[in-house]
Protein backbone atom coordinates (compact mmCIF):
# COMPACT_ATOMS: atom_id res chain seq x y z
CA UNK A 1 0.00 0.00 0.00
CA UNK A 2 1.25 3.43 -0.90
CA UNK A 3 4.02 1.94 -2.97
CA UNK A 4 3.00 3.84 -6.11
CA UNK A 5 3.33 7.10 -4.22
CA UNK A 6 6.76 6.30 -2.97
CA UNK A 7 8.61 8.35 -5.55
CA UNK A 8 6.18 11.23 -5.65
CA UNK A 9 6.00 11.66 -1.86
CA UNK A 10 9.70 11.85 -1.18
CA UNK A 11 11.77 9.65 1.12
CA UNK A 12 11.47 11.23 4.58
CA UNK A 13 8.19 9.49 5.48
CA UNK A 14 9.37 6.22 3.96
CA UNK A 15 6.53 6.38 1.47
CA UNK A 16 3.73 5.71 3.95
CA UNK A 17 0.35 7.28 3.51
CA UNK A 18 -0.90 9.86 5.99
CA UNK A 19 -3.45 7.46 7.41
CA UNK A 20 -0.74 4.91 8.10
CA UNK A 21 1.34 7.52 9.92
CA UNK A 22 -1.67 8.67 11.89
CA UNK A 23 -2.60 5.09 12.74
CA UNK A 24 0.90 4.48 14.00
CA UNK A 25 0.69 7.53 16.26
CA UNK A 26 -2.61 6.28 17.68
CA UNK A 27 -1.23 2.80 18.25
CA UNK A 28 1.84 4.25 19.92
CA UNK A 29 -0.35 6.32 22.23
CA UNK A 30 -2.50 3.29 23.10
CA UNK A 31 0.56 1.20 23.92
CA UNK A 32 1.93 4.03 26.01
CA UNK A 33 -1.33 4.22 27.96
CA UNK A 34 -1.27 0.45 28.47
CA UNK A 35 2.23 0.75 29.88
CA UNK A 36 1.46 3.58 32.25
CA UNK A 37 -1.91 2.13 33.26
CA UNK A 38 -0.10 -0.51 35.32
CA UNK A 39 1.39 2.28 37.45
CA UNK A 40 -1.98 3.99 37.61
CA UNK A 41 -3.77 0.83 38.77
CA UNK A 42 -1.18 -0.09 41.38
CA UNK A 43 -1.27 3.38 42.88
CA UNK A 44 -5.05 3.70 42.78
CA UNK A 45 -5.46 0.33 44.49
CA UNK A 46 -2.93 1.29 47.12
CA UNK A 47 -4.64 4.65 47.61
CA UNK A 48 -8.08 3.02 47.81
CA UNK A 49 -6.93 0.53 50.44
CA UNK A 50 -5.14 3.25 52.38
CA UNK A 51 -8.08 5.68 52.28
CA UNK A 52 -10.58 2.96 53.22
CA UNK A 53 -8.61 2.30 56.38
CA UNK A 54 -7.37 5.84 56.99
CA UNK A 55 -9.87 7.00 59.61
CA UNK A 56 -9.19 3.93 61.74
CA UNK A 57 -5.42 4.17 61.20
CA UNK A 58 -5.25 7.82 62.20
CA UNK A 59 -7.65 7.85 65.13
CA UNK A 60 -7.95 4.47 66.74
CA UNK A 61 -5.10 2.27 65.57
CA UNK A 62 -2.69 1.24 68.28
CA UNK A 63 0.15 0.13 66.05
CA UNK A 64 1.81 -1.93 68.77
CA UNK A 65 -1.38 -3.77 69.56
CA UNK A 66 -2.10 -4.23 65.85
CA UNK A 67 1.27 -5.79 65.08
CA UNK A 68 2.18 -7.52 68.33
CA UNK A 69 -1.05 -8.70 69.98
CA UNK A 70 -2.29 -12.18 69.02
CA UNK A 71 -5.88 -11.29 69.96
CA UNK A 72 -8.21 -10.71 67.03
CA UNK A 73 -11.73 -10.20 68.44
CA UNK A 74 -13.35 -7.61 66.16
CA UNK A 75 -16.99 -8.51 66.92
CA UNK A 76 -16.82 -8.47 70.71
CA UNK A 77 -19.57 -6.50 72.40
CA UNK A 78 -17.54 -5.38 75.40
CA UNK A 79 -13.90 -5.45 74.36
CA UNK A 80 -13.02 -5.27 70.68
CA UNK A 81 -9.40 -6.16 69.96
CA UNK A 82 -7.54 -5.82 66.70
CA UNK A 83 -4.26 -7.72 67.03
CA UNK A 84 -2.84 -9.41 63.95
CA UNK A 85 0.21 -11.19 65.38
CA UNK A 86 -1.46 -14.62 65.27
CA UNK A 87 -2.70 -14.00 61.72
CA UNK A 88 0.70 -12.81 60.49
CA UNK A 89 2.41 -15.81 62.06
CA UNK A 90 -0.27 -18.00 60.49
CA UNK A 91 0.56 -16.59 57.07
CA UNK A 92 4.31 -16.95 57.67
CA UNK A 93 4.11 -20.51 58.99
CA UNK A 94 2.00 -21.76 56.10
CA UNK A 95 4.09 -19.89 53.51
CA UNK A 96 7.35 -21.09 55.09
CA UNK A 97 6.29 -24.72 55.06
CA UNK A 98 5.02 -24.33 51.50
CA UNK A 99 8.42 -23.05 50.42
CA UNK A 100 10.22 -25.93 52.20
CA UNK A 101 8.22 -28.20 49.92
CA UNK A 102 8.04 -26.12 46.75
CA UNK A 103 11.64 -24.90 46.44
CA UNK A 104 13.42 -28.30 46.29
CA UNK A 105 10.65 -29.81 44.18
CA UNK A 106 10.33 -26.81 41.89
CA UNK A 107 14.03 -26.23 41.32
CA UNK A 108 14.67 -29.97 40.96
CA UNK A 109 11.94 -30.22 38.37
CA UNK A 110 13.28 -27.13 36.58
CA UNK A 111 16.77 -28.66 36.36
CA UNK A 112 15.38 -31.97 35.20
CA UNK A 113 13.14 -30.49 32.54
CA UNK A 114 15.82 -28.16 31.26
CA UNK A 115 18.93 -30.37 31.40
CA UNK A 116 18.06 -34.05 31.64
CA UNK A 117 15.21 -34.56 29.20
CA UNK A 118 14.39 -33.58 25.70
CA UNK A 119 11.97 -34.32 22.94
CA UNK A 120 8.68 -35.84 23.88
CA UNK A 121 9.23 -36.30 27.62
CA UNK A 122 10.15 -32.64 27.97
CA UNK A 123 7.08 -31.44 26.10
CA UNK A 124 4.75 -33.69 28.06
CA UNK A 125 6.31 -32.64 31.40
CA UNK A 126 6.06 -28.95 30.57
CA UNK A 127 2.44 -29.20 29.54
CA UNK A 128 1.47 -31.24 32.60
CA UNK A 129 3.27 -28.87 34.98
CA UNK A 130 1.49 -25.94 33.40
CA UNK A 131 -1.75 -27.84 33.81
CA UNK A 132 -0.99 -28.04 37.54
CA UNK A 133 -1.04 -24.23 37.59
CA UNK A 134 -4.47 -24.23 35.97
CA UNK A 135 -6.21 -26.07 38.84
CA UNK A 136 -8.48 -23.53 40.57
CA UNK A 137 -7.53 -22.84 44.19
CA UNK A 138 -10.99 -23.77 45.47
CA UNK A 139 -10.35 -27.27 44.11
CA UNK A 140 -7.09 -27.41 46.06
CA UNK A 141 -9.00 -26.32 49.16
CA UNK A 142 -11.53 -29.06 48.57
CA UNK A 143 -8.72 -31.64 48.33
CA UNK A 144 -7.35 -30.32 51.62
CA UNK A 145 -10.71 -30.61 53.33
CA UNK A 146 -11.86 -33.96 52.02
CA UNK A 147 -8.67 -35.96 51.32
CA UNK A 148 -5.81 -34.47 53.34
CA UNK A 149 -7.76 -33.90 56.58
CA UNK A 150 -8.51 -37.58 57.35
CA UNK A 151 -5.09 -38.58 55.94
CA UNK A 152 -3.22 -36.26 58.34
CA UNK A 153 -5.33 -37.39 61.30
CA UNK A 154 -4.52 -41.03 60.49
CA UNK A 155 -0.82 -40.55 59.69
CA UNK A 156 0.26 -38.17 62.46
CA UNK A 157 -2.28 -39.08 65.12
CA UNK A 158 -3.20 -35.39 65.09
CA UNK A 159 -6.40 -34.20 66.78
CA UNK A 160 -7.40 -32.38 63.58
CA UNK A 161 -6.17 -32.48 59.99
CA UNK A 162 -6.95 -28.87 59.10
CA UNK A 163 -3.65 -27.25 60.04
CA UNK A 164 -0.37 -25.66 58.93
CA UNK A 165 0.83 -28.93 57.42
CA UNK A 166 -2.29 -29.32 55.28
CA UNK A 167 -2.22 -25.72 54.05
CA UNK A 168 1.56 -25.82 53.55
CA UNK A 169 1.43 -28.91 51.36
CA UNK A 170 -1.38 -27.45 49.24
CA UNK A 171 0.33 -24.08 48.85
CA UNK A 172 3.62 -25.83 48.07
CA UNK A 173 2.00 -27.79 45.25
CA UNK A 174 0.33 -24.61 44.00
CA UNK A 175 3.66 -22.74 43.92
CA UNK A 176 5.62 -25.52 42.18
CA UNK A 177 4.41 -24.78 38.63
CA UNK A 178 5.44 -21.11 38.91
CA UNK A 179 8.89 -22.02 40.23
CA UNK A 180 9.36 -24.69 37.56
CA UNK A 181 8.41 -22.62 34.55
CA UNK A 182 10.37 -19.50 35.54
CA UNK A 183 13.30 -21.54 36.89
CA UNK A 184 13.48 -23.57 33.71
CA UNK A 185 13.62 -20.40 31.62
CA UNK A 186 16.44 -19.11 33.81
CA UNK A 187 18.51 -22.28 33.42
CA UNK A 188 17.82 -22.45 29.70
CA UNK A 189 19.07 -18.87 29.35
CA UNK A 190 22.58 -19.85 30.51
CA UNK A 191 24.69 -19.82 27.32
CA UNK A 192 25.60 -23.20 25.88
CA UNK A 193 29.25 -22.22 25.93
CA UNK A 194 29.16 -22.61 29.76
CA UNK A 195 27.95 -26.18 29.43
CA UNK A 196 30.45 -26.99 26.69
CA UNK A 197 33.35 -25.51 28.62
CA UNK A 198 32.37 -27.44 31.74
CA UNK A 199 32.07 -30.71 29.84
CA UNK A 200 35.38 -30.05 28.10
CA UNK A 201 37.03 -29.74 31.51
CA UNK A 202 35.86 -33.24 32.28
CA UNK A 203 32.97 -32.35 34.61
CA UNK A 204 30.04 -34.77 34.82
CA UNK A 205 26.53 -33.56 34.04
CA UNK A 206 25.76 -33.36 37.75
CA UNK A 207 28.89 -31.30 38.44
CA UNK A 208 28.00 -29.04 35.53
CA UNK A 209 24.52 -28.42 36.98
CA UNK A 210 25.67 -27.80 40.55
CA UNK A 211 28.84 -25.83 39.95
CA UNK A 212 28.17 -24.04 36.66
CA UNK A 213 24.50 -23.77 35.71
CA UNK A 214 22.89 -23.10 39.09
CA UNK A 215 25.35 -20.32 40.05
CA UNK A 216 25.04 -18.79 36.58
CA UNK A 217 21.23 -18.83 36.71
CA UNK A 218 20.88 -17.82 40.35
CA UNK A 219 19.22 -14.44 39.81
CA UNK A 220 16.53 -16.02 37.65
CA UNK A 221 16.11 -18.89 40.10
CA UNK A 222 15.75 -16.46 42.98
CA UNK A 223 13.09 -14.57 41.07
CA UNK A 224 11.29 -17.88 40.50
CA UNK A 225 11.35 -18.70 44.22
CA UNK A 226 10.18 -15.25 45.25
CA UNK A 227 7.29 -15.32 42.80
CA UNK A 228 6.37 -18.62 44.40
CA UNK A 229 6.49 -16.92 47.83
CA UNK A 230 4.24 -14.15 46.53
CA UNK A 231 1.76 -16.71 45.26
CA UNK A 232 1.74 -18.45 48.63
CA UNK A 233 1.30 -15.27 50.72
CA UNK A 234 -1.57 -14.06 48.58
CA UNK A 235 -3.48 -17.32 48.28
CA UNK A 236 -6.82 -17.17 50.06
CA UNK A 237 -9.54 -19.69 49.50
CA UNK A 238 -7.40 -22.84 49.64
CA UNK A 239 -5.84 -21.84 52.98
CA UNK A 240 -9.22 -20.72 54.29
CA UNK A 241 -10.51 -24.23 53.72
CA UNK A 242 -7.41 -26.22 54.71
CA UNK A 243 -5.86 -24.50 57.72
CA UNK A 244 -8.75 -24.77 60.19
CA UNK A 245 -9.31 -21.02 60.51
CA UNK A 246 -8.33 -20.72 64.17
CA UNK A 247 -6.83 -17.55 65.66
CA UNK A 248 -3.80 -18.86 67.56
CA UNK A 249 -0.03 -18.73 67.38
CA UNK A 250 1.10 -22.05 65.92
CA UNK A 251 3.59 -24.11 67.94
CA UNK A 252 3.83 -27.09 65.59
CA UNK A 253 2.86 -27.91 61.98
CA UNK A 254 -0.12 -29.80 63.38
CA UNK A 255 -1.73 -26.66 64.88
CA UNK A 256 -4.61 -24.93 63.12
CA UNK A 257 -4.00 -21.33 62.10
CA UNK A 258 -5.71 -18.48 60.36
CA UNK A 259 -4.01 -16.33 57.71
CA UNK A 260 -4.30 -12.61 56.94
CA UNK A 261 -5.95 -13.24 53.58
CA UNK A 262 -8.48 -15.73 54.96
CA UNK A 263 -9.49 -13.25 57.66
CA UNK A 264 -10.27 -10.56 55.10
CA UNK A 265 -12.15 -13.02 52.90
CA UNK A 266 -14.34 -14.44 55.63
CA UNK A 267 -15.12 -11.21 57.47
CA UNK A 268 -15.36 -8.38 54.95
CA UNK A 269 -18.81 -9.42 53.66
CA UNK A 270 -20.45 -8.97 57.04
CA UNK A 271 -19.12 -5.62 58.12
CA UNK A 272 -21.03 -2.41 57.78
CA UNK A 273 -19.21 -0.10 55.39
CA UNK A 274 -17.02 2.38 57.23
CA UNK A 275 -17.18 0.63 60.61
CA UNK A 276 -14.04 0.04 62.68
CA UNK A 277 -14.06 -3.64 61.81
CA UNK A 278 -14.32 -2.83 58.09
CA UNK A 279 -11.43 -0.39 58.31
CA UNK A 280 -9.36 -2.79 60.41
CA UNK A 281 -9.72 -5.35 57.62
CA UNK A 282 -8.43 -2.77 55.15
CA UNK A 283 -5.53 -2.13 57.51
CA UNK A 284 -4.77 -5.84 57.24
CA UNK A 285 -4.84 -5.29 53.48
CA UNK A 286 -2.18 -2.60 53.88
CA UNK A 287 -0.11 -4.96 56.01
CA UNK A 288 -0.33 -7.61 53.28
CA UNK A 289 0.59 -5.00 50.71
CA UNK A 290 3.64 -4.07 52.78
CA UNK A 291 4.68 -7.71 53.21
CA UNK A 292 4.54 -8.52 49.51
CA UNK A 293 6.22 -5.21 48.72
CA UNK A 294 9.13 -6.12 51.01
CA UNK A 295 9.38 -9.57 49.41
CA UNK A 296 9.40 -8.11 45.89
CA UNK A 297 11.78 -5.29 46.77
CA UNK A 298 14.29 -7.60 48.43
CA UNK A 299 14.05 -9.93 45.45
CA UNK A 300 14.79 -7.03 43.15
CA UNK A 301 17.73 -5.83 45.25
CA UNK A 302 19.21 -9.32 45.52
CA UNK A 303 18.90 -9.88 41.79
CA UNK A 304 20.56 -6.55 41.08
CA UNK A 305 23.29 -7.35 43.57
CA UNK A 306 23.94 -10.68 41.92
CA UNK A 307 24.04 -9.07 38.48
CA UNK A 308 26.42 -6.36 39.68
CA UNK A 309 28.69 -9.01 41.14
CA UNK A 310 28.80 -10.88 37.87
CA UNK A 311 29.91 -7.91 35.89
Amino acid sequence: MGSDREHAGGTHDLGRSRTAVAAERVIEAVIRICGFSAIFFVFSIFLFVLLSGSDFIIHRLDIREFLLSPEWVPTSVSNKRYGTMALTLGTFSVTGLAMLIAVPFGLGAAVFVSEFTDGRTKEVLKVVIELLAAIPSVVWGFIGLVIMNPLIIAMFDAPIGLNVLNGGILLGLMSVPIIVSIGEDAIKAVPDSYREASMAMGATRWQTVVHVLLPAARSGLLAAVLLGVGRAIGETIAVLMATGHAVQIPHSPLDSVRTLTATIASELGETARGSDHYQALFTIGILLFALTFVVNLSADLIVRGVRGEQR
Binding site: S78, L145, P159, V247, G269, T271
Partner: protein, 292 residues
Protein backbone atom coordinates in the same frame (compact mmCIF):
# COMPACT_ATOMS: atom_id res chain seq x y z
CA UNK B 1 -18.94 -28.10 51.25
CA UNK B 2 -22.21 -26.40 51.79
CA UNK B 3 -21.45 -23.29 49.75
CA UNK B 4 -20.57 -25.49 46.81
CA UNK B 5 -23.84 -27.35 47.13
CA UNK B 6 -25.52 -24.04 47.47
CA UNK B 7 -23.69 -22.74 44.43
CA UNK B 8 -24.72 -25.81 42.45
CA UNK B 9 -28.28 -25.48 43.63
CA UNK B 10 -28.22 -21.79 42.86
CA UNK B 11 -26.91 -22.52 39.37
CA UNK B 12 -29.63 -25.13 38.86
CA UNK B 13 -32.22 -22.67 40.10
CA UNK B 14 -30.84 -20.00 37.81
CA UNK B 15 -30.97 -22.43 34.90
CA UNK B 16 -34.55 -23.35 35.72
CA UNK B 17 -35.41 -19.69 36.06
CA UNK B 18 -33.91 -18.76 32.73
CA UNK B 19 -35.80 -21.61 31.03
CA UNK B 20 -38.98 -20.47 32.72
CA UNK B 21 -38.27 -16.93 31.65
CA UNK B 22 -37.69 -18.01 28.05
CA UNK B 23 -40.97 -19.99 28.05
CA UNK B 24 -42.95 -17.09 29.36
CA UNK B 25 -41.55 -15.04 26.51
CA UNK B 26 -39.90 -12.49 28.82
CA UNK B 27 -43.22 -11.55 30.34
CA UNK B 28 -42.69 -8.20 32.03
CA UNK B 29 -45.12 -9.04 34.84
CA UNK B 30 -42.63 -11.55 36.25
CA UNK B 31 -41.36 -10.66 39.71
CA UNK B 32 -38.00 -11.54 41.22
CA UNK B 33 -37.68 -11.43 45.00
CA UNK B 34 -34.11 -11.25 46.36
CA UNK B 35 -33.62 -13.22 49.58
CA UNK B 36 -30.32 -13.46 51.43
CA UNK B 37 -28.79 -14.10 54.84
CA UNK B 38 -28.56 -16.73 57.56
CA UNK B 39 -26.75 -19.97 56.77
CA UNK B 40 -29.03 -21.74 59.22
CA UNK B 41 -32.05 -20.69 57.17
CA UNK B 42 -30.61 -21.13 53.69
CA UNK B 43 -31.79 -24.70 53.04
CA UNK B 44 -35.25 -23.95 54.38
CA UNK B 45 -35.45 -20.71 52.37
CA UNK B 46 -34.45 -22.61 49.26
CA UNK B 47 -37.11 -25.25 49.89
CA UNK B 48 -39.71 -22.50 50.30
CA UNK B 49 -38.57 -20.79 47.10
CA UNK B 50 -38.76 -24.02 45.11
CA UNK B 51 -42.20 -24.94 46.41
CA UNK B 52 -43.53 -21.44 45.90
CA UNK B 53 -42.94 -21.76 42.18
CA UNK B 54 -45.81 -24.23 42.00
CA UNK B 55 -48.00 -21.93 44.08
CA UNK B 56 -47.32 -18.73 42.16
CA UNK B 57 -45.29 -19.25 38.95
CA UNK B 58 -45.11 -15.51 38.25
CA UNK B 59 -42.94 -14.93 41.33
CA UNK B 60 -39.35 -16.15 41.41
CA UNK B 61 -37.24 -16.06 44.57
CA UNK B 62 -33.44 -15.95 44.45
CA UNK B 63 -31.96 -17.33 47.67
CA UNK B 64 -28.39 -17.02 48.91
CA UNK B 65 -26.59 -17.51 52.23
CA UNK B 66 -23.57 -15.80 53.76
CA UNK B 67 -24.68 -15.35 57.36
CA UNK B 68 -27.30 -13.33 59.23
CA UNK B 69 -24.99 -10.30 59.40
CA UNK B 70 -24.47 -10.43 55.65
CA UNK B 71 -28.23 -10.56 55.01
CA UNK B 72 -28.91 -7.64 57.33
CA UNK B 73 -26.07 -5.65 55.74
CA UNK B 74 -27.67 -6.31 52.34
CA UNK B 75 -31.04 -5.13 53.67
CA UNK B 76 -29.38 -1.95 54.95
CA UNK B 77 -27.69 -1.41 51.59
CA UNK B 78 -31.00 -2.05 49.83
CA UNK B 79 -29.80 -4.97 47.70
CA UNK B 80 -32.33 -7.53 48.98
CA UNK B 81 -36.09 -7.59 49.48
CA UNK B 82 -36.07 -10.08 52.33
CA UNK B 83 -33.16 -10.78 54.71
CA UNK B 84 -32.94 -14.05 56.64
CA UNK B 85 -31.65 -13.94 60.20
CA UNK B 86 -31.19 -16.49 62.94
CA UNK B 87 -30.98 -13.76 65.58
CA UNK B 88 -32.76 -10.51 66.42
CA UNK B 89 -31.49 -7.33 64.84
CA UNK B 90 -29.11 -5.19 66.90
CA UNK B 91 -30.25 -1.71 67.85
CA UNK B 92 -27.57 -0.15 65.63
CA UNK B 93 -28.63 -2.29 62.68
CA UNK B 94 -32.21 -1.07 63.09
CA UNK B 95 -30.85 2.45 63.26
CA UNK B 96 -28.88 1.96 60.03
CA UNK B 97 -31.93 0.56 58.22
CA UNK B 98 -33.88 3.66 59.25
CA UNK B 99 -31.08 5.97 58.19
CA UNK B 100 -30.66 4.35 54.76
CA UNK B 101 -34.25 3.66 53.74
CA UNK B 102 -36.40 5.87 55.97
CA UNK B 103 -38.37 2.78 56.98
CA UNK B 104 -38.32 0.56 60.04
CA UNK B 105 -37.27 -3.03 59.58
CA UNK B 106 -40.03 -5.53 60.28
CA UNK B 107 -39.20 -8.89 61.83
CA UNK B 108 -41.33 -11.87 60.77
CA UNK B 109 -41.02 -15.07 62.78
CA UNK B 110 -40.91 -17.85 60.21
CA UNK B 111 -39.70 -20.89 62.16
CA UNK B 112 -38.38 -22.03 65.51
CA UNK B 113 -34.99 -23.61 65.94
CA UNK B 114 -32.84 -25.13 68.65
CA UNK B 115 -29.06 -24.81 68.65
CA UNK B 116 -27.88 -28.37 69.06
CA UNK B 117 -24.59 -29.17 70.77
CA UNK B 118 -22.91 -32.34 69.52
CA UNK B 119 -19.72 -34.37 69.69
CA UNK B 120 -18.27 -37.17 67.59
CA UNK B 121 -19.71 -40.68 67.79
CA UNK B 122 -16.57 -41.88 69.57
CA UNK B 123 -17.20 -39.54 72.51
CA UNK B 124 -18.87 -41.22 75.54
CA UNK B 125 -20.39 -37.89 76.66
CA UNK B 126 -24.21 -37.94 76.79
CA UNK B 127 -25.15 -34.70 78.50
CA UNK B 128 -23.63 -31.35 79.26
CA UNK B 129 -24.41 -28.41 81.54
CA UNK B 130 -24.55 -24.85 80.22
CA UNK B 131 -21.78 -23.95 82.67
CA UNK B 132 -19.54 -26.67 81.18
CA UNK B 133 -20.20 -25.32 77.68
CA UNK B 134 -19.18 -21.87 78.85
CA UNK B 135 -16.11 -23.39 80.50
CA UNK B 136 -15.15 -24.95 77.15
CA UNK B 137 -15.94 -22.04 74.84
CA UNK B 138 -15.57 -18.82 76.86
CA UNK B 139 -12.47 -16.69 76.91
CA UNK B 140 -12.08 -17.11 80.67
CA UNK B 141 -13.07 -20.79 80.56
CA UNK B 142 -10.56 -23.32 81.85
CA UNK B 143 -11.84 -26.58 80.35
CA UNK B 144 -9.11 -27.56 77.89
CA UNK B 145 -9.35 -31.32 77.96
CA UNK B 146 -12.05 -33.96 78.02
CA UNK B 147 -10.54 -35.41 81.19
CA UNK B 148 -11.40 -32.17 83.02
CA UNK B 149 -15.05 -33.05 82.31
CA UNK B 150 -14.42 -36.49 83.75
CA UNK B 151 -14.43 -38.50 80.54
CA UNK B 152 -11.91 -40.05 78.20
CA UNK B 153 -12.50 -40.01 74.45
CA UNK B 154 -11.05 -42.98 72.56
CA UNK B 155 -9.06 -42.00 69.44
CA UNK B 156 -8.49 -38.46 70.69
CA UNK B 157 -4.80 -37.51 70.97
CA UNK B 158 -3.94 -35.76 74.29
CA UNK B 159 -7.67 -35.64 75.17
CA UNK B 160 -7.57 -32.01 74.03
CA UNK B 161 -10.98 -30.50 73.29
CA UNK B 162 -11.17 -29.26 69.70
CA UNK B 163 -13.64 -26.38 69.78
CA UNK B 164 -15.51 -25.94 66.50
CA UNK B 165 -17.33 -22.65 66.13
CA UNK B 166 -18.67 -20.33 63.42
CA UNK B 167 -17.35 -17.29 61.61
CA UNK B 168 -18.23 -14.03 63.34
CA UNK B 169 -20.99 -12.85 60.95
CA UNK B 170 -23.08 -15.89 61.81
CA UNK B 171 -26.30 -15.39 63.76
CA UNK B 172 -25.77 -18.80 65.35
CA UNK B 173 -22.36 -17.60 66.61
CA UNK B 174 -23.89 -14.52 68.22
CA UNK B 175 -26.84 -16.36 69.69
CA UNK B 176 -24.58 -19.02 71.22
CA UNK B 177 -22.21 -16.35 72.53
CA UNK B 178 -24.96 -14.35 74.22
CA UNK B 179 -26.95 -17.35 75.50
CA UNK B 180 -24.10 -19.61 76.65
CA UNK B 181 -21.17 -17.35 77.46
CA UNK B 182 -23.30 -14.47 78.71
CA UNK B 183 -23.80 -10.94 77.41
CA UNK B 184 -20.58 -9.09 76.79
CA UNK B 185 -18.41 -12.22 76.94
CA UNK B 186 -16.22 -13.48 74.11
CA UNK B 187 -15.23 -16.81 72.69
CA UNK B 188 -11.81 -18.15 73.60
CA UNK B 189 -9.50 -17.66 70.62
CA UNK B 190 -8.21 -20.72 68.81
CA UNK B 191 -11.56 -22.30 67.94
CA UNK B 192 -11.94 -23.60 64.38
CA UNK B 193 -14.32 -21.11 62.82
CA UNK B 194 -16.29 -22.78 60.02
CA UNK B 195 -18.13 -20.91 57.27
CA UNK B 196 -21.40 -22.81 57.54
CA UNK B 197 -23.51 -25.04 59.80
CA UNK B 198 -22.97 -28.06 57.57
CA UNK B 199 -19.17 -27.65 57.76
CA UNK B 200 -19.33 -27.79 61.56
CA UNK B 201 -21.33 -31.03 61.47
CA UNK B 202 -18.93 -32.53 58.88
CA UNK B 203 -15.81 -31.63 60.85
CA UNK B 204 -17.14 -32.81 64.23
CA UNK B 205 -18.28 -36.06 62.62
CA UNK B 206 -14.73 -36.71 61.37
CA UNK B 207 -12.83 -35.51 64.45
CA UNK B 208 -12.95 -37.59 67.64
CA UNK B 209 -11.75 -34.71 69.88
CA UNK B 210 -14.27 -32.18 68.60
CA UNK B 211 -17.36 -30.46 69.95
CA UNK B 212 -19.57 -28.17 67.89
CA UNK B 213 -22.96 -26.47 67.67
CA UNK B 214 -25.44 -25.55 64.92
CA UNK B 215 -29.12 -25.28 64.07
CA UNK B 216 -31.18 -28.47 64.45
CA UNK B 217 -31.91 -28.67 60.71
CA UNK B 218 -28.31 -29.67 59.99
CA UNK B 219 -27.86 -32.61 62.34
CA UNK B 220 -26.86 -35.88 60.67
CA UNK B 221 -26.30 -39.36 62.05
CA UNK B 222 -22.51 -38.75 61.90
CA UNK B 223 -22.56 -36.78 65.14
CA UNK B 224 -23.86 -37.47 68.63
CA UNK B 225 -26.36 -34.93 69.96
CA UNK B 226 -26.02 -34.00 73.63
CA UNK B 227 -28.86 -33.19 75.97
CA UNK B 228 -28.53 -29.91 77.79
CA UNK B 229 -29.03 -29.07 81.48
CA UNK B 230 -29.47 -25.46 82.60
CA UNK B 231 -27.66 -26.19 85.86
CA UNK B 232 -26.58 -29.08 88.06
CA UNK B 233 -30.03 -29.57 89.58
CA UNK B 234 -32.04 -29.21 86.35
CA UNK B 235 -33.08 -32.14 84.22
CA UNK B 236 -31.20 -32.75 80.97
CA UNK B 237 -33.36 -31.69 78.03
CA UNK B 238 -32.83 -33.16 74.56
CA UNK B 239 -33.35 -30.80 71.60
CA UNK B 240 -36.68 -31.96 70.15
CA UNK B 241 -39.38 -30.03 68.27
CA UNK B 242 -41.50 -30.05 71.43
CA UNK B 243 -38.77 -28.79 73.76
CA UNK B 244 -37.66 -26.16 71.23
CA UNK B 245 -41.23 -24.91 70.85
CA UNK B 246 -41.94 -24.70 74.56
CA UNK B 247 -38.60 -23.03 75.26
CA UNK B 248 -37.78 -25.78 77.74
CA UNK B 249 -34.60 -26.46 75.77
CA UNK B 250 -32.22 -23.69 76.82
CA UNK B 251 -30.87 -22.82 73.38
CA UNK B 252 -34.10 -22.44 71.42
CA UNK B 253 -34.69 -19.37 69.31
CA UNK B 254 -36.77 -17.83 66.56
CA UNK B 255 -35.70 -17.65 62.96
CA UNK B 256 -36.66 -14.43 61.20
CA UNK B 257 -37.28 -12.96 57.81
CA UNK B 258 -36.77 -9.19 57.72
CA UNK B 259 -38.29 -6.64 55.37
CA UNK B 260 -38.10 -2.88 54.99
CA UNK B 261 -41.33 -1.54 56.48
CA UNK B 262 -44.53 -3.55 56.22
CA UNK B 263 -44.33 -5.93 53.24
CA UNK B 264 -46.61 -5.29 50.29
CA UNK B 265 -47.73 -7.04 47.13
CA UNK B 266 -45.81 -10.14 46.12
CA UNK B 267 -43.43 -10.01 49.10
CA UNK B 268 -46.39 -9.96 51.46
CA UNK B 269 -47.94 -12.81 49.48
CA UNK B 270 -44.78 -14.86 49.87
CA UNK B 271 -44.40 -14.20 53.61
CA UNK B 272 -48.09 -14.98 54.20
CA UNK B 273 -47.66 -18.26 52.37
CA UNK B 274 -44.56 -19.10 54.48
CA UNK B 275 -46.52 -18.86 57.76
CA UNK B 276 -49.52 -20.67 56.25
CA UNK B 277 -49.92 -24.42 56.92
CA UNK B 278 -48.43 -25.22 53.49
CA UNK B 279 -45.29 -23.20 54.18
CA UNK B 280 -44.95 -24.44 57.74
CA UNK B 281 -45.17 -28.06 56.60
CA UNK B 282 -41.88 -27.46 54.75
CA UNK B 283 -40.38 -26.14 58.02
CA UNK B 284 -41.10 -29.49 59.67
CA UNK B 285 -39.81 -31.39 56.61
CA UNK B 286 -36.42 -29.65 56.74
CA UNK B 287 -35.91 -30.47 60.42
CA UNK B 288 -36.98 -27.20 62.05
CA UNK B 289 -40.04 -26.44 64.18
CA UNK B 290 -43.17 -24.70 62.82
CA UNK B 291 -44.16 -21.42 64.46
CA UNK B 292 -47.56 -22.57 65.75
Amino acid sequence: MNWMNRGAMGAALLGALSVAWACSGGDSSRVLIQNKGSDTLVNLAQAWAENYRAVKPAVAIAVSGGGSGTGIAALINGTVDIANASREMHAEEKEQVRAHSGKDATEHRVARDAIVVYVSKANPLEKIKLADLACIYAEDGTCQSWTSLGIEVPGCADQKIIRVSRQSNSGTYEFFRDAVLGKGKDFKLGSRDMQGSKDVVDLVGKTPCAIGYSGMGYITSDVKVLCLAKDASSPCIAPTPASAKSGEYALSRWLYMLTLGEPEGDIKGYLDWIVSPAGQKIVADTGFVPVN
